[in-house]
Symmetry: C2
Subunit: 338 residues, 2 copies
DNA sequence: ACTGCTTCCGAAAACGATTACGATCGTATC
DNA sequence: GATACGATCGTAATCGTTTTCGGAAGCAGT
C-alpha cells in the first residue's frame, strides 16, 4: 500500500509538502504541486481514511440509515436506489461519499445509531422511515451531528426534513373520488408507527368532512407494508359490509397483493372498487393500471443532499438561504383503477 | 466526546490499562476491569473508530458494493434487504458492521472500488452483479482484500463465490415445459454483461438439445432488467412468428411488465404462452401466479457472510473447512403460468 | 537474603495523515 | 548593505487508539 510517506520518498520531498500539495494549500510551488499530483496518480496514492479522519475529525462520508429485513421498510429497493443516485450526484461534487448504514432487523435502531454515531463513522446522516415519535432525532441533535430526515415526525429538534406531500395526495385523491361519485371511501393505513400514516389518515378525514362525508372507522384498514400484507387486507376489505366503493393507500408495495386479493374475493379493482395509490415501477403494468401519485426520486435525493449540506458547517456556504423544510409535491398519473 | 484519556483520568489509571481492560486482554486485574467497564458504561465511552482502525489497520466493517440508480441492479425490491439481513446476523456475532458501498451510476465501478479500497474503508468486501469478465476481482486480489462475490465470473482469482443455481433452474424449467408438451421454448436474456445470462442460456440450450430440441436464435429475447424492459420485450415475443409456446426467464423484475405486455398484445400468459421465472414477493400475486424458482435470501446472506469470514485472517478459525464455492439451489413453486 | 516467577500496570512507540510554526532563500525597499 | 517580506518547504506536534516492553510488587522456594 502506498502511503504519503512513500510518495514523499519517491519525490524526495517532505510529507508535509506532499499533503499540502494534494490538499490544494496555497503555499506550495506550482511545479512541485504538478509533480506531486502526477506521482500520486502514477503510484495510485489515495489518502488513508483512518489517518485522515483521525487528524481532521471528519470522515468525508455521509450515512443513509436504513433498516434491513424483508418486511421492515415501507419502501422498496428501487425507491432507495433512485434516491441514493440523486444524493450522490450532489455529494460527489464535494468529495463526499455516501454509504448506507444498515441496521439489522433484530437490532434496536436507536442503539445502532448511537453506536455508529459515537464511533464517528459519518459526518452527517440521513434518516428514513421516520416514526410518529422518533428518538433518533434527539440522539443526533444531542451529539450535534448534522442530519436531515426523509419524513416528518412529531419529535422536532429543529432539523431540516423533506417529506412527501401525503396530505396533498390525500386531498387530490379524495376529491377525485368524490367527484366520480364515491360516497364511501376507505383507506389503508400501513402497520407500524410511521408518521406518514397519521398525516395521511388525518387529511383524508378532513377532506371527506369538507364534502360532508365521514371516514368510517371500519373502513380504515391496517396492513403490513408488503405484498402479502396487501393480499391479506384485500379480504378484509372485500368482506366488510358495507364495503367501501373506493380505497386510497399510501404504500406502493401493497398494491400487487391487494389487486390479487380483491380479484380472488370476486371484487374487481377499477370496476367493483376504485383504487388510488402510489406509483412504483410496477403499478403501470398492473391491470387495470393504477391511478397513482408519483415523483422524481432522483430529484428528491438531490434536494435531500443539498439541504443536508446547507447545515454542515464545512459546506454550508454553498447553499445558504434554502428552506429547511420541504413538502415534496407528487403528481397524479391517471390510470384506470380509480 | 469522551475518549479513552478522559476515562483513564476519571479512573486514575493509565490509558494502556483501560484499553486492555476493554479489549479483554488477559493481564488486567478482574477488579480493575470491572471498574473500567462500569466507568465506560457510565461515561458513555465508545472507542473512536478512526484512532482504532489507524492503529489496528482494520476497520471492523464489511462493505457490500452495489450500484445505485433506477435501472442498474438486476435484482429487485426486497432482494438485497433480505440478503443483508442474513449477512448481518453472522457479522454481528463478530462485532463486524455491514455497510452498503454505493457506487453512483455515473461513476465507474472499478474506479470507485479502487478508491474505497485504497482508502482502507472496509476490511472485506462483498461483490454483487458480477459480470462475465469482472476486473474488480483482480483489483481486490491484487490488494489482498478478502472478498466474496454473489455470482460467478469468468475472471477467477481463487476467491470464494456463491451463486444461484441458474443452470439447475434452466434444467428443471426446460424439462418441465418439455414434459408439458412444449416444443418451442424461448428465453429472456437480461441486457448487460452479467454472467448469469450466459450460464442460463447455455444450459437451456444444452438441455433442449438433450431432448432433441433446438433453441432458436430468434427466440432468445434481450430485455432490460426492469418492469419496462419486460413490457417492451413482451411485444417482441408476441409478434415473433413462429411465436414460442413458452418462455423462461431469470430476472424477477421483468415479469410484471411482461405479463401486461403480453396481455396487451392479446397473448394470455399461462394460456397462450407458458412462463417460468424467478420468485419475488410479487410473483405469487400476479394472475396467473407465476411458476417460479425461489430460495431463502436470508440463508443466502448467512452463507455469504460465513464464507467471507472463513477467508478473513482474523476470523477464519471459526469457519475452517467450508467449501469456498457454492451453487445455491432453488426450489420450484408451482404456479399456474407454466 | 537472594533468585525466579507471576501478576499487574505504566510509559512510550507506533498507525497515516494534517497543519502550525519556523527556517531558508531570494528579492525588493530604503 | 541592512531590513523586511513573500514564497516555499521541512520539522514536529497532533488526532485516539492498541500493543510491546519493561518495571514494580508480591510470593514461593532455597
Amino acid at each position: 500500500m502506498t502511503g504519503i510517506r512513500q510518495l514523499a520518498d519517491y519525490l524526495d520531498i517532505s510529507i508535509g509538502t506532499v499533503s499540502r500539495a494534494l490538499n490544494g494549500k496555497a503555499d506550495v510551488n506550482a511545479e512541485t504541486r504538478r509533480r506531486v499530483l502526477e506521482a500520486a496518480e502514477k503510484l495510485g496514492y489515495v489518502p488513508n481514511q483512518s489517518g485522515r479522519s483521525l487528524r481532521k475529525g471528519s470522515t468525508g462520508v455521509v450515512g443513509f440509515m436504513m433498516q434491513t429485513g424483508p418486511e421492515i421498510t415501507s419502501q422498496g429497493d428501487a425507491f432507495f436506489m433512485s434516491v441514493f443516485d440523486g444524493v450522490q450526484t450532489v455529494l460527489s461534487r464535494h468529495k463526499l461519499d455516501l454509504v448506507a448504514l444498515l441496521c439489522s432487523s433484530n437490532e434496536d435502531p436507536y442503539a445502532y445509531l448511537q453506536r455508529t454515531v459515537a464511533r464517528g463513522f459519518a459526518d452527517a446522516i440521513i434518516l428514513s422511515a421516520t416514526r410518529r415519535n422518533d428518538a433518533r432525532f434527539e440522539l443526533l441533535h444531542r451529539h450535534d451531528i448534522p442530519f436531515i430526515s426523509l419524513g416528518r415526525s412529531l419529535t422536532d429538534v429543529g432539523q431540516p426534513w423533506i417529506d412527501l406531500d401525503f396530505e396533498g395526495m390525500a386531498e387530490v385523491a379524495i376529491k377525485r373520488l368524490v367527484k366520480a361519485g364515491h360516497r364511501d371511501i376507505g383507506i389503508i393505513w400501513p402497520h407500524g408507527d410511521l408518521n406518514l400514516g397519521y398525516l395521511f389518515a388525518e387529511r383524508c378525514r378532513e377532506v371527506l368532512a369538507e364534502h360532508g362525508l365521514a371516514l368510517r372507522e371500519d373502513h380504515i384498514f391496517r396492513a403490513k407494508p408488503s405484498e402479502a400484507g396487501g393480499y391479506a387486507v384485500a379480504h378484509e376489505i372485500a368482506s366488510r359490509s358495507p364495503r367501501p366503493s373506493a380505497i386510497v393507500l399510501v404504500n406502493e408495495i401493497l398494491v400487487t397483493g391487494l389487486y390479487k386479493g380483491l380479484e380472488d374475493a370476486g371484487v374487481k379493482p377499477g370496476k367493483d372498487i376504485a383504487i388510488i395509490g402510489r406509483y412504483s415501477p410496477q403499478t403501470q403494468f398492473l391491470s387495470p393500471a393504477l391511478t397513482c401519485f408519483t415523483l422524481s426520486l432522483r430529484d428528491l435525493g438531490i434536494s435531500l443532499a443539498e439541504h443536508l449540506l446547507s447545515i454542515m458547517p464545512a459546506y454550508q456556504s454553498h447553499y445558504v438561504g434554502q428552506t429547511p423544510r420541504v413538502i415534496w409535491p407528487m403528481t397524479l398519473i391517471e390510470g384506470t383503477s380509480g
